[in-house]
Subunit: 482 residues, 2 copies
């Protein structure tokens, strides 16, 4: 970020936080220049950015004023998906989405990738390069079934922070969190089984259900508190549900952290109905607040929670290093992993183990929590600026994903096709529903700082959404007076 961008971000935040009220006069260029120790032209450039964003308004001869503020948009209400098991659809949309991720000329706000440019990641690559040069024997050969013990020991240590007690022997390394969830499902479920999911929920897991011939039942989910325990209980009474998949910490896509009381309640519900819990903690370490939230697994007493995670969000997805703590399903998970892909790459495992051991991991994650929290605030502010009224936006408690609910009439699947032509990619909400609900929603990746490219993309998204809304309204005849 250049100096003026930095200053613009800072000022935007202050406006956001209400330090200067709507209509209030801002400090003069000279004042800010002295206060921040930057040149006059830097301040002028920063003010120009804010003016472009319609955050401030210039008044000839008297300086800059805070623009009339839009009210903070509300969070989305509890979801209301169909209450019966369905086959997962949406595969074709997902292939398009994932394939375009490889085209560098596309602004991929749809991706689930973290920020990979931070200097605190460097020791990881140094370590990998060192291993490849000096530890060839281990790096070349077949890995053991459960993965490298050096890494499993470090993961066991890290998990203490989430209240999760597990030794290296309780952990199985997998190819990312996807590999962990896949082994978990394969170990527990049969084709034709029913599994409950949050709604909306991560498309990758739902496609896995489809791959294994498992039906999904989507459970109403609150954007601040998580899955509705009441709705889940009703579903459990009505259907022979085998298990439930939950992302309780910094949920994808809604960003909530399930309160501990609810985590406890879910465990006892699972016990009463004898179902298993597939817990996906992939974003748990990226919670805004420290210490990090507990896992559901930490409340598990009879081994029915299969905890899945990976370093794809905290470090880098290209490592493909994930893990599972499968509780009572250890042997079956080992078999499922072996069946699906054999063993893992030893090199990336050993590099991560050393990175954690030497303290680099804690340092990096501490930094990223701050960075992402900051980014999300900025992005939220820009979304509010560029998008029409009447939207709902989540207030994520961690991670780097924002979920925006647009007025009912907007079809984000169509919008995203238009955006694709502009080389902008967003994830339409329908991907996050087994049956293609949430067509009026989108998920935005806020892992990157708000560069000019990203801001411009967001602006264009807003414009296309405005157009779509207008077209939709033109098509809907106004209600006849009663």
């Amino acid at each position: 970020m250049t100096r003026y961008q930095h200053l613009a971000t800072l000022l935007a935040q202050r406006i956001e936080q209400g330090l200067w009220k709507s209509g209030e006069k801002l400090p003069s260029v000279r004042q800010l220049s002295t206060e921040h120790g930057v040149s006059i032209s830097t301040v002028q450039q920063a003010y120009q950015v804010l003016e472009n964003l319609q955050l401030i308004i210039p008044q000839p001869r008297s300086g800059y004023f805070v623009a009339p503020r839009k009210a903070q948009p509300p969070v989305p209400a509890m979801s209301h998906p169909v209450q019966r098991p369905v086959d997962v659809t949406q595969w074709d949309e997902i292939t398009t989405l994932l394939d375009n991720n490889q085209d560098k000329s596309i602004v991929a706000l749809s991706s689930g990738s973290p920020d990979l440019s931070q200097p605190t990641l460097k020791p990881l690559w140094r370590e990998l390069s060192r291993l490849v040069q000096h530890n060839l024997d281990t790096v070349l050969g077949y890995d053991g079934m459960a993965g490298k013990v050096e890494l499993r020991e470090q993961i066991a240590r890290l998990m203490v922070d989430s209240g999760t007690q597990a030794s290296a022997d309780d952990i199985v390394i997998t190819s990312g969190c996807q590999g962990a969830l896949s082994a978990a499902l394969l170990a527990v479920c049969q084709p034709g089984d029913i599994v409950a999911v949050e709604s909306p929920s991560f498309y990758g897991t739902m496609q896995m259900l489809r791959g294994y011939g498992i039906k999904a039942i989507e459970i109403p989910t609150d954007s601040s508190l998580g899955i509705s325990i009441e709705a889940l209980e009703l579903a459990l009474e009505q259907w022979p549900i085998k298990g439930i998949i939950l992302v309780p910490n910094c949920n994808n896509p809604l960003g909530f952290i399930m309160p501990d009381a609810r985590k406890r309640a879910i465990v006892s519900l699972a016990q009463r109905h004898d179902i298993v819990i597939f817990e996906d903690d992939i974003y748990g370490e990226l919670a805004n607040d420290y210490p990090r939230p507990r896992t559901i697994k930490s409340f598990d007493i009879d081994g029915r929670v299969l905890l899945c995670s990976s370093f794809s969000k905290t470090l880098a997805p290209g490592l493909r290093v994930g893990w599972i703590v499968p509780g009572r399903y250890l042997n079956r998970v080992l078999h499922a992993k072996y069946a699906a892909m054999g063993t893992n790459v030893p090199a990336t495992q050993l590099a991560v183990a050393a990175f954690i051991r030497d303290g680099h991991y804690t340092r990096h994650v501490r930094r990223m929590r701050r960075v992402y929290q900051q980014n999300m605030e900025n992005w939220t502010c820009w979304v509010r600026q560029y998008f029409p009224d009447g939207i709902c936006v989540t207030r994520p408690e961690g991670s780097f994903l924002l979920w925006v609910e647009l007025p009912e009439q907007v079809d984000m699947v169509c919008v995203s096709r238009r955006l694709a032509k502009l080389k902008i990619q967003v994830a339409p909400g329908s991907l996050f529903s087994a049956s293609g609900k949430y067509r009026n929603c989108l998920r935005i990746n806020c892992a990157q700082p708000l560069t000019e490219t990203n801001r411009e993309a967001l602006h264009q998204i807003g414009n296309v959404v405005y157009d779509a809304l207008e077209e939709a309204n033109a098509l809907t005849p106004p209600k006849a007076p009663a």
Copy 2:
């Protein structure tokens, strides 16, 4: 290899090839020293090795003589497995096997690992290290669904040698050949389906069948010509078989190369019965003879052959780079791959792509073909020396695996337990049968040169087998005279 080991190997081969007959006098130490341009003591050391191996016998004052030779053992006869679909067992035995691979103090003749110590592999690790230092962006992020196009292009080029026509777009990168086979099965089969396999056949694939709830029917297989087409046809008439898994080139464990006429016949049989062929070509590039044998896929005309392979045997298993050419099942294979493990590690893919592009791959494989052929001859000769009479041994046409059939009475599962106490691990034949047949067989990995450690291990295996045979014979009362 030291100079004297080299000479010993050479002399052993000449004896093997019948250059000097049983009982014939060998050249004097001085003669050999002049002939090979080595010192007297080198020749003496070489003769000492051969004496230890009981290949030659010293006669005081008159030199060395070729020891009385055992006849070359015959190859195993056509196998006769049960002719009905069964659930795959043997999982517990396999966990023990794979876990012990990690213990460096064990002589793991059971492993499927290639020789990783060859200098021609070096450029691969240099490339990987370079990538990690200079191409971070690509190496850190999520890979595309099908894998790196740079690699797929190189694989397409290589496949021309096997008569296989495929473009980069027809290829999907997977986590090793296991990942390829797994995606193939998941794309084509449902639980409860029946799949035919060679008998004996690779345990990893059979465990996959178990993982996906698929039944195996084992088809009689000849150790020189491959699966019995007649037996397969009978099975197809009798059972609703969905597909067949074949390792037609340098078969694991039997080492045969299926003649082209049979490959063609299998394809037309598959067409007539509308089944798919899962072709596993993982050892195809390691055939003794050049040019390498054709794939079954090269005879495929309607996309019903799913060709699976990897660099685990030609380069190194720790890369976890495999691929599949899924023919008409491309979209379903992509889904299955995504469901089971998401995407792959980009770094190892790109390193392999550069290794092939720069000509290092061809050089390495050419070398390994020679090295393995040589090793196999030596190992075979030693097996004959140390094992009891009445054994059958395969004559592999490539790769580095030897299959030994012992007299019926010998139980290799028990023998391997005894050997485990001596820190020697062999793969008992029962792992290679869905129902635990072939308990009197074992597979030996001959990828390594015959070092003193390996020779000693082989000697000990022979001793334990001798003991087991004696015990078994003592238990069986001699047949009463008629």
